[in-house]
């Protein structure tokens, strides 16, 4: 695609073909948890993409490579699914050929480590119940499908700053809400918190009791 002076028309023309670009991020436990698509689709297509991706990724063996050639649904062979599997969680990025495969694997690792820091030993349930927080963290890392920041410390600083702002805004009025929320959380059947992402081995032994 031409982008320099004098070729602007052709650039415009090609834009419409550029349907799928950049990342989808899907975080699966056994059911879908977090799902971000940076190229707006209608809901049906999105759900189809998720189902297909989940289907593709979950049936793969543990010891095969972390890359999958994309099907037609995710934009043909130009695009690839790159995933990492942590216990019951799959982190799947769908990227086009301009991204480095191993670079994205590193990025997933950064993402997971950042989640681990922000949630203090992240577990599957954190992701399930705090989708909004996951989104906020991801927004500091990936913006509109493009990688914004790969430095974990920088991401955490920004996320913390925003959370602090949120708290100060809630002020006194927010306190009762937080208390209620804490009480509600206590009702939860014991939340397993023994997930250690640092060495990438997430164990969620109590999960079945969590239905």
């Amino acid at each position: 695609m031409s982008v320099e002076k004098g070729h602007l028309d052709s650039f415009k023309h090609k834009c419409c073909e550029d349907l799928y670009q950049k990342l989808y991020i899907l975080v699966f436990p056994c059911t879908l948890t977090v799902f971000v698509i940076y190229v707006p689709q209608n809901e049906d297509t999105e759900q189809q993409i998720i189902r297909e991706t989940f289907h593709l990724v979950s049936k793969r063996d543990e010891n095969v490579c972390n890359f999958l050639e994309g099907g037609m649904l995710i934009g043909g062979s130009e695009n690839r699914l790159i995933y990492r599997h942590y216990a019951t969680l799959y982190f799947v990025f769908c990227v086009d050929s301009s991204e480095s495969e191993l670079g994205i694997l590193d990025l997933i690792q950064v993402f997971v480590e950042t989640l681990d820091k922000c949630f203090e030993n992240v577990c599957e349930l954190d992701l399930i119940f705090h989708v909004d927080k996951v989104h906020n963290i991801l927004a500091e890392m990936v913006m509109g499908g493009m990688v914004l920041e790969t430095n974990m410390n920088e991401i955490i600083i920004q996320v913390d700053a925003q959370n602090k702002m949120e708290k100060s805004e809630a002020g006194i009025a927010g306190a009762p809400a937080r208390a209620v929320s804490a009480v509600k959380n206590m009702n939860l059947p014991e939340m397993p918190r023994n997930i250690n992402i640092g060495d990438i081995s997430i164990k969620v032994p109590n999960l079945p009791s969590f239905k």
């Binding site: 809901e43 913006m143 509109g144 493009m146 914004l148 702002m165 805004e169 959380n185």
Partner: protein, 980 residues
């Protein structure tokens, strides 16, 4: 009022928040849809309230539902409301919802323009941040156009957090509103050198994305990126830059060289696998392309050894490598081609190589090409050549190369092919005659170049096979031109000798027609005129031959003048055909009796070793003699090594000698697979145009062969069944002949044959002749398996010293016998041939050929085979009475030998029947598990066997007055049982 607020917040506490919704959905697995629809109703209620906190909570839940696949576009306006809240908490929720739910077609987006602009210029950097993040997801062309300027301003914001987001979102803006690219680009370029690594990284991201689409326009940024690559420590940025260089270098080759150093540094220093990978990737793509090509070819040659098929599919690629400007790559590719040829692609590959020969600069490479062409063609005994005429013309074409060192190689190939492929001779001779005629072209200016060696071959071929020459006179004249005297001596010698051969041919041709005797005399005169030049040669060989032949011709001329017919006598000088001899032929000549090849002819000179020992044993002179006896075997040991070494040398010599037929592994394989009553379907190969047909046929043929084998086995079983174990003596001796195709004939057929398929089955029985002690009768069953009529079959066997085919009186020793019948398709018939055998002690293999004409074709087709005379076939079943048998054993004239067979689990009488059947014995006496057997050879040798069996073990004690014969018979018995 304050109370109201507090009350509102307390109400809110018990509203469902996002966590409650998630929990609820998880608790309502069965009626999820129903539960969610009630939730949506609740949300709708909440959205109707004025309280922004309640609204934002509802929007937050909607975002989650949207993710689950529910349509929430109806709430778009409420999302905008939440977005425009002054509080960051709600604003963030609103923008998140917008980024998830808004599409380009969402109409409320146009209401957001002002709100977003306000947020972008907000003093709170996080307000700006979430606005940018949200916008990046739902930016439309309109938004891009309206906000481009605002975002461009933000690119120079004081906060790096804003700058990096603004830089990154510009890519989206460019996509939606390309007009913004030109004004924004200078600033974007500036950001590549931003002090903040995050901003830098974002700028690199954007520019790499743009450059990926059109690398050419970004070449000018290469120095900047180069600087970044050497200074940046951010892996992500480095990966992006390296990927960008990967796209740029094909456009600007000079970049490649510059990149080597920083890339190598990175490869050595980085610990990040991903960066390393991308470095290597780029290195592969651009920098060391040629190195990789070379390594790739090298790897392929390794793969070729184990998986030839997989490499063959890359033939075109490898042929392309021949065009490479790097010589070592071309040589590698050549090596690969050698292993890749097959019958199908040989011609194509050689044709391509010939093109390269024409183009090639530098003699070294051209010579390499030449040797490779010849190697490729001649490998595995010309296995891949389907058309020898083509090969000869290739060779002739190669002679046109100037200044090659490999003239002798071409020459030896010409000789080899012309001698071994009879069908090609006429063509080869014609080509060689032309070559001789144009000899001046070869020798013209490059007198000392190796190519004139070719003339050596040409002259010899023309002389030896002069009967194929169309105009021997012209060739003779060409060979006697004065210029020949400038050729190297050994070539001149061949010229002179073969001129004489040609002379005899000319005489032969002329004297048939008496009117032309004048021409014959002119020929003599020509020789007499021209030969003196050679007589004066400074080369002894040339001189000697020339003067000898000159005198001969002078004498012939005298006779001619007296009108004496001399042609026949002259021809006799060169009579006899030169036959190729297999390298192992020597083995087939039986060692004369009494000759011990291992024995010393003269005692070996005493080596230093024995001297040492002699010194040691000096004191004990008494034992000296004994000592020396001990050392003797040691000498033979050394000698064996020496022999093996010599054998190797001899093999190497033979391999280089065109007059030897190299042993072909395939034929050996066939030979070892011999079985009783075996037969082989021999089948004829086709002209190369039918390569495909050939394959099909081959498969069909395989199937046929299997069928036939079965048939034969059944037949054999039947016979055995008929005779039964009781009537052992009635079993008729039947024995087999191995007919083995040789390697050569397969492709040696003339290519102009348009026949498709011919198969002939030969099955032979060899049987001794009772009436004559030195005769063996071989019955051959010919079966025509093709669809055409076969006629003029001629059977010929190459006689060995020991065995000779008996031919009618007056026939020469090499004449073939006519088979007295024709074969219509599908018919088989039997012919008997008598062989005279001198020694029957050793088994023998005779090589033979069957020539025949398939109807509608004028050419003779040839089928090579081997006759295997086993020692058993010299035995004749002769009944013997037990008392005579006992007398025989007592006489003491017989020498003994024994054999043990293990693991035989057939009944004893079957075992006896087998020996009787296959080895022509008769049972003299049988007591329980013990039997005595007897047979007699055609030369009257007695063979006695005592067969005992116990526990699957059969021991055979045998006696015979000829130990050699006995040994071989026992070996054959062993073979029979090892095959069952």
């Amino acid at each position: 009022m304050a109370l109201k607020i507090v009350k509102g917040s307390i109400d809110r506490m018990f509203d469902k928040n996002l966590q409650d919704l998630v929990r609820g959905i998880r608790n309502h697995k069965e009626d999820e849809a129903k539960y969610i629809s009630t939730c949506i109703d609740e949300i709708k209620q909440e959205l109707k309230q004025d309280n922004i906190a309640v609204k934002s909570n509802a929007v937050c839940k909607l975002t989650y539902l949207q993710m689950l696949g529910y349509d929430v576009s109806w709430a778009a306006f409420n999302i905008v409301e939440v977005m425009s809240s002054s509080k960051f908490t709600y604003k963030r929720i609103g923008y998140l919802a917008a980024s998830q739910c808004f599409h380009e077609s969402t109409d409320v987006i146009m209401l957001t323009t002002n709100q977003i602009r306000k947020d972008l210029s907000s003093p709170n950097q996080y307000d700006t941040g979430v606005a940018l993040t949200g916008l990046s997801c739902f930016v439309t062309p309109d938004l891009a156009r309206d906000l481009a300027n605002d975002i461009m301003t933000l690119m120079s914001h004081t906060k790096p957090y804003i700058r990096k987001k603004a830089v990154l979102i510009m890519y989206k803006v460019f996509l939606k509103y390309p007009e913004s690219l030109r004004p924004a680009f200078p600033r974007m370029k500036e950001k590549l050198e931003d002090p903040d690594p995050g901003v830098q990284s974002a700028a690199v991201n954007v520019i790499c994305e743009l450059a990926r689409r059109n690398p050419k326009n970004y070449l000018s940024l290469a120095p900047l990126f180069f600087k970044l690559m050497t200074s940046s420590t951010n892996n992500w940025v480095l990966i992006k830059i390296i990927k960008l260089f990967g796209a740029l270098t094909p456009l600007e080759p000079r970049l490649g060289k510059k990149l080597i150093e920083p890339l190598t540094n990175l490869i050595h220093s980085t610990s990040a696998m991903s960066l390393l990978y991308e470095c290597v990737n780029t290195v592969i793509a651009v920098v060391w392309l040629s190195v990789l090509k070379y390594l790739g070819l090298l790897a392929m040659s390794k793969i070729l050894k184990t998986h030839p098929k997989s490499v063959q599919s890359h033939k075109d690629l490898i042929l392309q490598c021949l065009d490479d400007k790097d010589e070592s790559i071309r040589l590698r590719a050549l090596d690969l081609l050698y292993g890749m040829v097959s019958k199908k692609n040989l011609m194509e590959i050689v044709k391509k190589l010939m093109l390269h020969v024409d183009k090639a600069e530098g003699t070294t490479y051209r010579d390499e090409l030449l040797t490779k062409i010849i190697d490729i063609c001649s490998q595995s005994n010309y296995q891949y050549i389907t058309n020898f005429e083509w090969y000869i013309s290739i060779l002739v074409e190669l002679t046109r190369l100037e200044g090659t060192r490999h003239g002798h190689l071409i020459a030896s190939q010409m000789l080899d092919v012309a001698i071994r492929v009879k069908a090609i001779r006429a063509f080869a001779v014609a080509q060689m005659a032309t070559l001789l005629d144009n000899a001046h072209l070869l020798t013209g200016n490059t007198q000392h170049s190796g190519i004139c060696e070719v003339l050596y071959a040409a002259a010899w071929i023309c002389g030896e096979f002069s009967e194929h020459l169309e105009d021997p006179m012209a060739t003779l004249e060409a060979m006697l031109r004065p210029k020949v005297a400038t050729l190297p001596g050994h070539i001149q010698a061949v010229y002179v000798q073969n001129a004489a051969k040609l002379f005899s041919t000319v005489l032969c041709g002329q004297e048939g027609a008496p009117a032309d005797s004048k021409v014959a005399q002119e020929t003599s005169q020509l020789l007499i005129d021209r030969l003196p030049v050679f007589v004066q040669s400074d080369n002894l060989e040339v001189q000697e031959r020339a003067s000898c032949i000159l005198q001969l011709v002078k004498y012939i001329q005298k006779l001619q003048q007296k009108d004496v017919e001399v042609a026949e006598e002259v021809t006799a000088l060169f009579a006899g055909e030169l036959n190729p001899v297999a390298p192992k032929a020597q083995k087939k000549v039986p060692v004369p009796e009494g000759l011990d090849l291992d024995a010393w002819i003269n005692e070996p000179p005493s080596g230093s070793e024995s001297e040492d020992e002699g010194r040691k044993t000096k004191g004990k002179a008494v034992f000296a003699r004994e000592e020396s006896r001990h050392t003797k075997p040691r000498y033979t040991e050394v000698d064996e090594k020496e022999l093996a070494k010599r054998r190797e040398v001899r093999k190497a010599e033979q391999a280089n000698n065109p007059f030897y037929i190299k042993a072909s592994p395939s034929s050996q394989k066939v030979r070892t697979a011999s079985s009783p009553n075996r037969q082989l379907v021999l089948w004829m190969p086709m002209s190369d145009q039918y390569v495909k047909l050939e394959e099909e046929r081959r498969q069909k043929n395989k199937a046929d062969r299997k069928k036939d084998k079965k048939k034969r086995r059944e037949k054999g079983r039947q016979r055995r069944g008929d005779s039964g174990p009781e009537s052992e003596e009635d079993i008729t001796p039947a024995h087999m002949v191995d007919i083995v195709t040789e390697e050569m004939p397969e492709n040696a057929l003339p290519i102009n044959s348009s026949l498709t398929s011919r198969c002939i089955t030969d099955v032979c029985d060899i049987q001794g002749n009772l009436h004559d002690g030195s005769q063996v009768v071989v019955s051959v069953i010919f079966e025509n398996k093709c669809d055409s009529f076969i006629k003029s079959m001629e059977f010929n066997v190459m006689d060995s010293l020991n065995s000779k085919l008996q031919r009618p009186e007056g026939a020469g020793p090499h004449d073939s016998l006519t088979v007295p019948f024709h074969l219509p398709p599908g018919i088989s018939s039997e012919a008997r041939f008598i062989f005279s055998v001198q020694s029957i002690v050793m088994p023998q293999k005779l090589k033979g050929t069957l020539t025949f004409i398939v109807k509608d074709s004028s050419t003779h087709e040839k089928l090579d085979f081997k006759l295997h005379f086993t020692c058993t076939s010299y035995l004749i079943t002769t009944p013997c009475y037990s008392d005579a048998y006992a007398k025989l054993l007592e006489s003491g004239d017989l020498k003994g030998s024994s054999l043990k067979l293990e693991g035989i689990n057939q009944p004893f009488h079957h075992l006896l029947a087998r020996i009787c059947f296959h080895h022509h014995f008769s049972v003299v006496e049988r007591i329980d598990s013990c039997a005595s057997m007897y047979s007699r050879s055609i030369q009257g040798h007695h063979v006695c066997l005592l067969v005992k069996t116990a526990d699957q073990t059969v021991s055979i004690d045998a006696k015979c007055d000829e130990p050699g014969l006995l040994r071989n018979v026992l070996d054959e018995i062993k073979l029979t049982f090892s095959q069952c």
